[in-house]
């Protein structure tokens, strides 16, 4: 519906933006990159990394070199979805199990975090009441919550989902609240003159105005959730990419661990790109 908003700015639009849209971060014009910069330079970077790795593996005998790594994990690379019982599944399955937990915890964090953020952003009384709680809990590593999750649910998966929920909650909550507080007062005055109901004030004015902030909160929290799931699975076991890493450590298979690191990184990158694309689609503007 909003596809009509042009990305490039004419002088008139940039003037209008400056005065009305402080809630939306201004975006520097994207540089037009030559194909050289798009493809060749990243490849050079990867090649350099592999080179350094090869050199280091010569100096440190415990570290497998790149060729060993690929040959020893070739079976895992070729068959990502084999299934030989509950403790022996392909990397694809491991990743999907982890993604499932992240998705569930992240979804719960959205359901709780956005409404809570809207309330905190709107009411300074609520904000003052909850600020100390949030300030104290936010810097706690989400993994510290894992034992509480285990004690509560008596099972690994709900405990991991709970941990992800706590992880993802803070960025969503705080960004939503900040976004709501930064809504230009003139928009709220328009709502007051029209005597919008509380609900319409939220849906027609506050949420659309805070949307860029909310979306960037979602992006941050999904990134952290993916960081945390690996660690929490290492602690709880079961099926999942984090447990896979731990299992391979017990097997002393550094080749498989290096492969898993690459996979975790690529999946994380994919998730981030996906969030960015979704955010761009929703707001019709590049967010950064």
């Amino acid at each position: 519906m909003r596809s009509a908003i042009p990305i490039e700015k004419t002088p008139a639009t940039s003037r209008a933006r400056k005065t009305v849209v402080p809630a939306q971060p201004s975006v520097p014009p994207r540089r037009r990159q030559a194909p050289l910069g798009e493809i060749v330079l990243p490849l050079v970077g990867v090649a350099l990394l592999v080179g350094v790795w090869a050199v280091v593996s010569q100096l440190a005998p415990f570290l497998p070199n790149p060729v060993q790594t690929v040959t020893k994990s070739w079976d895992l690379i070729r068959h990502p979805f084999f299934d030989r019982g509950p403790n022996n599944k392909g990397l694809g399955w491991q990743v999907l199990y982890s993604l499932g937990r992240v998705g569930l915890g992240f979804g719960l964090a959205i359901v709780v975090g956005i409404p809570a953020g809207l309330i905190l952003g709107r009411s300074s009384v609520t904000r003052k009441m909850w600020d100390p709680v949030v300030q104290v809990l936010r810097p706690v590593s989400p993994l510290a919550w894992l034992p509480l999750g285990l004690a509560t649910f008596q099972a690994a998966t709900p405990a991991a989902v709970f941990t992800i929920f706590i992880t993802a909650l803070w960025p969503i909550l705080l960004n939503t609240s900040a976004g709501v507080q930064q809504v230009p007062p003139a928009y709220l005055q328009v709502g007051r003159i029209l005597q919008l109901s509380r609900r319409k004030m939220m849906t027609r004015i506050l949420i659309p105005a805070a949307l860029p902030h909310i979306l960037s909160g979602l992006r941050v929290s999904l990134g952290v959730a993916w960081l945390v799931i690996v660690a929490s699975e290492m602690l709880t076991g079961g099926v999942g990419i984090g447990f896979f890493v731990w299992d391979e450590w017990n097997n002393l298979s550094l080749e498989h661990i290096i492969l898993a690191i690459a996979v975790i990184g690529l999946v994380g990158l994919g998730l981030d790109r996906l969030m960015l694309a979704a955010a761009r689609r929703i707001t019709n503007q590049p967010l950064g």
Binding site: R2, A4, I5, P6, K9, A12, T13, R15, A16, R17, T19, V20, V21, Q24, P184, A186, Y187, Q189, V190, R192, I193, L194, Q195, L196, K200, R204, I205, P208, A209, L211
Partner: protein, 261 residues
């Protein structure tokens, strides 16, 4: 005597970190039905504060405002407001910005009648073609027109204009002034406008309220503009009455209440 819009002894003191700041004091002004009254004064004297009290967006510390026999206690669509920075919602098209207002004020109209009403008012400000465009795609003058259409579409008892042309270039400003004049004549709309442009005030107003400087600004004098209507800017500037009026206002603003800076 009670007027259509009666501002009675309004004082507003802001609580600031550096103590209370009395922005305006004892402001009294009445506006008759269908009258066009302008508030003029130096920037920062408290014009927007007074207008926002009439809109119900700000509560006066003492005093009050009565519109059409009812005391103003909160904002409402019977006071259509046009902001200096247009305040259109950037995620809605021009059409949908006006529609949001129409939906709220005329909930019993059918969807089609609501949309017809939107198009009618966009047409009045000459923006039919731009209806589906977003504020970022419109020039400052066009945004201001949408803001005027939005305010008029609420069928307000009084139209409140806060320096609506302040951010525009001289040519666009002239066009919009003519447009507001035309709409005012057509509807008999009561208007209270804020400006710091003396020529604009004389061209548009029946009466001009001159504000003293803050802190504690008040309405120092109210002058009547006895120029024949319909007014044409090129014709009235040659009239002696225009000249006298302008001298009188400028004298008030620049000799008696010059900004001490």
């Amino acid at each position: 005597m009670s007027q259509f819009l009666q501002i009675s002894d309004v004082t507003k003191t802001f609580e600031t970190p550096r103590g209370p700041y009395p922005a305006i004091q004892h402001c009294t002004l009445s506006v008759g039905q269908g009258e066009f009254v302008t508030l003029i004064g130096h920037s920062g004297c408290g014009k927007s504060t007074l207008l926002s009290i009439v809109a119900g967006l700000t509560h006066p510390t003492t005093g009050g405002v009565i519109l059409d026999g009812k005391e103003v206690t909160s904002p409402g669509p019977d006071r259509g407001m046009v902001f200096q920075q247009h305040a259109l919602l950037p995620w809605l098209s021009a059409h949908d910005n006006v529609l949001l207002a129409v939906e709220e004020v005329f909930p019993s109209l059918s969807r089609k009648d609501q949309k017809d009403r939107v198009m009618h008012f966009l047409d009045m400000v000459g923006l039919i073609e731009a209806a589906q465009k977003y504020p970022a795609e419109l020039s400052g003058g066009m945004c201001q027109r949408v803001g005027i259409a939005r305010a008029l579409a609420m069928r307000p008892k009084v139209l409140l204009l806060d320096e609506p042309f302040g951010a525009l270039d001289a040519l666009t400003r002239g066009h919009l002034q003519d447009e507001v004049l035309r709409i005012w004549q057509k509807f008999g709309q009561t208007v209270l406008m804020v400006t710091h442009d003396v020529d604009e005030a004389i061209l548009l107003s029946d009466r001009i309220a001159l504000m003293t400087n803050g802190p504690g600004a008040t309405i120092g004098e109210v002058v009547r503009v006895d120029l024949p209507r319909p007014r044409n800017r090129r014709v009235i500037v040659g009239m002696p009455a225009y000249h006298d009026l302008k001298v009188r206002i400028l004298e008030f603003l620049y000799e008696r209440y010059e900004l001490v800076s």
